[in-house]
Symmetry: C2
Subunit: 238 residues, 2 copies
DNA sequence: TAGATTGTTAATCGATTAACAATC
DNA sequence: TAGATTGTTAATCGATTAACAATC
């Protein structure tokens, strides 16, 4: 595959979602001074199977060497390239409440190629305050900060304001939105929305936890009289 | 399907992940005073197809009425039941930095059936402070607060401490962990971990954004001389 | 060359979707 | 009854997995 095929060949969504994990693992390996890594070892570090990893990488092109493995630095560069991380992306955060405040100060973004360049809110009490080194601006200032198509918007406003603020982001030229409000946003075609729903995550955990509890309470096997000794497992589940 | 089949019939993971969305939409409809909703209308509210919704609900049992739709209150109760939300779940948050602080104060958990019952940290400067009405305790106090198997642990510590703290959570009896640290946690069988990786979400958005940019820059169709007028679309992508 | 490990093939699995018979 | 809408079937699609030929 050609070097300049970045961005022109289809990569399955499931693969895209794993690329950041591979990238991070490679960073760790590079810092540890490793030159080369096998698909087996890298997959193990990320918690997936090696076949899946090789298949994922095959969608980006083939950067490994049979019998040897992958060059850590080279593979890191290739994946970073595909993720568009050769230059940092600008991020604006809208809604500087509890969560927005935390996101503004979150070091993890900077480490992974993002730069928070604007904080916005319309609650009169926060506007003007300095948070994580940036002065919080009113929403009306969005167009002054957003570079159309090149800025990611993070939405950390209450559910009832999310759609309205999203519309303003889109109007200002934002084409990628990370939404923390538990609502379905309607956006025009060409705008990409991802949703992080913190309460949902807990609910999914609760679903499985309850399942364990219910199953654990019920007998694992029917109690039949038996001549051979039987190990009864109670409450032990996957 | 029987009432008491809750927790005993297999529900596909993809379906489980959507149940919280359905539940929330039903809450909104119930508040709006709606008695009944069709799969078409509910699906529209959640942003999925109606066939998918009906298929999802069919895994829980069949609570609809042909020709009529679903009883809003009844369906809400059924889904809440399956999600184990008839009684609230207790949640402990470990790592009261930027993010943990925000999570402790996040109202969305309480609204959706969770109760934050403990905040923990080992950084000497936070321990003892009161955050969102709770005093931050040292990790050593975990066993005093955790009810084995019935408490969800939220991990908001730096990556390098995540595994160690996770081990302590598990030792205290936590069987469900929501992990915000960008690391792969190793846990014994029977412990359920979900990961929320904020930077990853941005990276996935960046991948698609870059793709739009690259494709937009390239000509959409080969430029051939043509007798008929041609509409050239530049930069317009899905 | 012999051993190791990739990249790819083919089989399997799970999720989505459209269509429609069942039925209120 | 006629119209509406569910629950289910069958077809399709996409993702995972194991196995192995290619090749360093």
């Amino acid at each position: 595959m050609d070097e300049d095929d970045v961005g022109t060949v289809d990569v399955p969504e499931a693969t895209v979602a794993r690329l950041p994990q591979y990238l991070r693992a490679l960073s760790v390996l590079a810092e540890a001074g490793l030159q080369t890594v096998s698909s087996e070892a890298l997959a193990e570090a990320v918690g997936v199977g090696s076949a899946k990893l090789r298949k994922d990488l095959s969608h980006l092109g083939s950067y490994g060497t049979r019998g040897v493995g992958y060059d850590v630095t080279e593979l890191h560069r290739q994946i970073a390239d595909h993720l568009g991380q050769t230059t940092p992306w600008n991020v604006v955060i809208v809604g500087i409440g509890n969560l927005g405040h935390a996101l503004a100060g979150y070091g993890g973004f900077g480490d992974r190629g993002f730069r928070v360049v604007g904080l916005f809110d319309d609650g009169s009490q926060v506007v003007g305050e300095v948070v994580a080194g940036l002065r919080v601006r009113p929403l009306a200032d969005l167009p002054q900060v957003v570079h159309p198509g090149a800025t990611i918007g993070v939405l950390a406003v209450p559910a009832e304001h999310a759609q309205g603020v999203c519309d303003q982001l889109v109007a200002a030229g934002v084409r990628s939105v990370l939404n923390f409000a538990p609502v379905v946003l309607r956006v025009p075609a060409g705008v990409d929305v991802r949703k992080v729903d913190l309460a949902s995550e807990l609910q999914i955990l609760a679903f499985h936890a309850q399942r364990r509890a219910v199953r654990g309470a019920a007998p694992v096997a029917p109690r039949l009289p038996s001549l051979a000794p039987v190990t009864e497992r109670v409450g032990e589940v996957v």
